[in-house]
C-alpha cells in the first residue's frame, strides 16, 4: 500500500494557496427544492436526472464554492439496498464523481471534487452485525467508483462511530485516495456513539495514511458546531479543521421545510469559524446558494482575529441547542456496589 504524497494533492495545494476554503451547501435539502420526494434516494438522480445534479453543483460553484461534494452520501451498498440499487454502487458513485468533475473542470478556477462518503447506517460488530472487514469492502466499492469518476479526495462525513470512520479511511487508503473525515456531534455535544470533538483527531492514529483534514459537519445547528470547533482546535491547534454546519434548525412553513439560518447569520458563522481556526468551511442541511454567497464574501473580506468564546458564539449566532461535550469529570459518579468489570 503506497501513501499518496499529501503535499501534491489538489485539496492541500488549493488550501496552501488560498488559506481558507469554502466548501458547498446542502445536497439533500437543495434537491428537495428541485423535486426530490422525501424518502427517495438522491443518488439515483446521478443516472435518472443528472441535469439536476449538474445544476446543484453549478449553483454552488457560481456562489463561490472551492470544494463541491459529490451526490453519493448514501452510496454504499448498505444504503442503496433500500432502493434495490445495491448492485449499482460502483456505477452510481462513478457517475456522481463524473458529474461533479465536469462542473469543476469548467469552472475556470480550481474547484475540488470531494467524493462524499456517508455512514452505512449499520452498527459494526459487536454492537451490530456488520463486520469491520465488510464495512471496509463496502467503502472500497464506493470509493473505487468515486475515484474512477475523477474525485480528488474521499470526503467521509456525518460519522458517529470511530470504527466506521476507520473502516472508511482504510478503504480510501486501499484505493490510493487521500481522505478527510468529519463527525456529526449531535448528542450532548458528542457523536451519537460518544466520540468527543477533541478526540476526532486521533481516530485514525494507528493508520499508515493520515487524513488531510478532520472536523465536524451536520449536527444540530451553527452555534453547536462552533462550540465543537473550539474543542477540536484546542485539542490540536495545528490540525487542518473542517466545519460544515447546518443552516440553523429545521422548521416547517406550510408544507415546506425551512432552516432558520439567514445569509447574514451564516456569514457571521463563517467569521467565527475562521477566528476559531477552521480553514475549510461550508454549510450542511438547509444551506442554499444565497447563504453560500454571503459566506464567500465573509471569507474574502474577514481578517482573522482572536478566538471567540462560547459567549461570543451565543451572542452572535444564538443559544446552543445541546449542552457542550463534557470531559467526563463533572458527571456525577453513580454509587456502585462491587466491581464486576474494569
Amino acid at each position: 500500500m503506497s501513501s499518496p504524497d499529501i503535499s501534491t494533492n489538489p485539496l492541500s495545494e488549493l488550501l496552501a494557496k488560498k488559506g481558507v476554503l469554502l466548501a458547498d451547501g446542502a445536497t439533500g435539502t437543495n434537491l428537495f427544492a428541485m423535486g426530490l420526494e422525501s424518502g427517495e434516494a438522491p443518488e439515483l438522480w446521478n443516472e435518472d436526472a443528472p441535469e439536476k445534479i449538474v445544476k446543484l453543483h453549478q449553483d454552488f460553484v457560481d456562489a463561490g464554492s472551492d470544494i463541491i461534494l459529490t451526490n453519493s452520501f448514501g452510496g454504499t451498498r448498505h444504503r442503496l439496498k433500500l432502493h434495490h440499487a445495491q448492485d449499482r454502487a460502483f456505477a452510481l458513485n462513478k457517475r456522481a464523481a463524473e458529474i461533479a468533475r465536469q462542473v469543476a473542470d469548467n469552472a475556470g478556477r480550481p474547484v475540488i471534487v470531494a467524493g462524499s462518503v456517508g455512514p452505512t447506517g449499520e452498527l459494526l460488530v459487536p454492537l451490530g452485525a456488520l463486520t469491520y472487514e465488510d464495512a471496509v469492502d463496502a467503502f472500497v466499492e464506493q470509493i473505487e467508483g468515486l475515484k474512477a469518476g475523477g474525485a480528488d479526495v474521499a470526503w467521509i462525513e456525518t460519522m458517529s462511530a470511530p470504527d466506521e470512520i476507520r473502516a472508511a479511511a482504510e478503504a480510501a487508503a486501499k484505493c490510493g485516495m487521500p481522505y478527510t473525515y468529519t463527525g456529526s456531534f449531535d448528542t450532548a455535544g458528542k457523536t451519537m456513539m460518544g466520540l468527543h470533538p477533541k478526540d476526532i483527531h486521533n481516530v485514525t492514529n494507528e493508520m499508515e495514511q493520515a487524513p488531510l483534514a478532520v472536523g465536524a459537519n451536520c449536527g444540530v445547528g451553527a452555534s453547536d458546531i462552533l462550540a465543537s470547533l473550539l474543542d477540536m482546535k484546542e485539542a490540536n491547534p495545528d490540525g487542518t479543521i473542517i466545519v460544515k454546519g447546518n443552516c440553523g434548525i429545521p422548521e416547517f412553513r406550510g408544507s415546506e421545510i425551512h432552516y432558520s439560518g439567514t445569509p447574514p447569520l451564516m456569514a457571521e458563522y463563517v467569521r467565527l469559524a475562521m477566528d476559531a481556526g477552521a480553514t475549510i468551511i461550508g454549510g450542511c442541511c438547509g444551506t442554499s446558494c444565497d447563504h453560500l454567497r454571503a459566506m464567500r464574501e465573509a471569507i474574502d473580506t474577514h481578517q482573522k482575529t482572536e478566538k471567540p468564546s462560547l459567549d461570543d458564539i451565543r451572542e452572535k449566532i444564538g443559544p446552543l441547542r445541546n449542552k457542550t461535550a463534557g470531559d467526563g469529570t463533572e458527571a456525577p459518579k453513580r454509587e456502585r456496589r462491587g466491581r464486576r468489570r474494569a
Binding site: 434516494a41 448498505h78 444504503r79 433500500l82 452498527l123 450532548a188 451519537m192 434548525i249 463534557g326 456496589r337
Partner: protein, 233 residues
C-alpha cells in the same frame, strides 16, 4: 477472579436488586439472566421482577443517556441485557396476566434505514411495560396504516435520522388526518435532526429527544388517556 467477586445467590433480595441495577448499567447480560432467575426462584412475582429490577435499572440508564453520561454503545449493551431478562419473564408475564401500560407501533420512515434510535426506544418502551410492535425500517405510509389496523395500538412512533427522510413523518400524519384517524392515536416522533418545533409542525403529539424521554412521554399520554376515559365513563 478476585476475592471480592460477587455471588448473586448469596445476596439478600434488596442487595440483589441493587446489584441488578448496576449490572444492567454495565450491560452484563448473563448476570441479568441469573439475577432474574434467582428472584423468580425466591418466589417473586414476574411483574415485580420486571418493574423493581429491570424497569428501575433501565430508568437509571435512561436518565444517564438523557444527561449525556452514557451514549448509544453503552445503552445498547444495557438494553440487550434487559432483553435477556425479558425473554425469561415474557412467557410468565403472559400467564399471570400482568398489567400492560399500552401498545406502541414503531418504525423508521420511508427512505431511512437507521434503526439504532428506533430500536433503543422499542427496547426501553418494552422495558417500561409497553407492548411494542416493531415494523422495522423504510416504512411507507401504508405500512403504518396496516400495522394500525392489525395491532390496534395506542401509540405510533416514527423515527428518522436523515434530513431527507424526516419530512416523510408529515406524509404519514397527514394521511392519518385524511382518513379521520389521527386523533385516535398518540403520535411520537424522534431522530437526531428533529426538534420540538419540527415535531409540532408535522402534527405529532410530541417530539422525544431520546429513548428515555420517549418512555416518560408515552407514560404521560397514557395516564392522560386513562384519566379522560375515567371522567367520560
Amino acid at each position: 477472579m478476585s476475592e471480592d467477586e460477587i455471588i448473586l445467590s448469596e445476596l439478600s433480595d434488596d442487595e440483589l436488586v441493587q446489584q441488578m441495577h448496576d449490572d444492567l448499567y454495565d450491560g452484563l447480560k448473563e448476570e441479568i439472566e441469573e439475577g432474574t432467575t434467582i428472584l423468580l426462584d425466591r418466589g417473586w412475582a414476574p411483574y415485580d421482577v420486571l418493574t423493581k429490577a429491570l424497569v428501575e435499572g433501565m430508568r437509571i440508564v435512561g436518565e444517564d443517556f438523557r444527561d449525556g453520561i452514557l451514549f448509544v454503545p453503552e445503552v445498547l449493551l444495557s438494553a440487550n441485557a434487559m432483553k435477556a431478562g425479558m425473554a425469561i419473564l415474557r412467557p410468565l408475564l403472559a400467564e399471570t396476566g400482568a398489567p400492560k401500560l399500552g401498545k406502541m407501533v414503531i418504525g423508521t420512515v420511508k427512505g431511512d434505514i437507521h434503526d439504532i434510535g428506533k430500536n433503543l426506544v422499542g427496547m426501553m418502551m418494552e422495558g417500561a411495560g409497553f407492548d411494542v410492535v416493531d415494523i422495522g425500517i423504510n416504512n411507507p405510509v401504508e405500512n403504518y396504516l396496516e400495522a394500525i389496523d392489525e395491532h390496534e395500538p395506542d401509540i405510533i412512533g416514527m423515527s428518522a435520522l436523515l434530513t431527507t427522510t424526516m419530512p416523510y413523518m408529515k406524509v404519514v400524519i397527514d394521511t392519518m388526518k385524511e382518513k379521520g384517524i389521527r386523533d385516535d392515536y398518540v403520535v411520537l416522533v424522534g431522530g437526531a435532526p428533529l426538534n420540538e418545533e419540527f415535531g409540532m409542525a408535522v402534527g405529532a403529539d410530541a417530539y422525544c429527544r431520546d429513548a428515555a424521554v420517549a418512555v416518560e412521554t408515552a407514560k404521560e399520554f397514557m395516564k392522560r388517556k386513562h384519566n379522560s376515559m375515567a371522567s367520560a365513563g
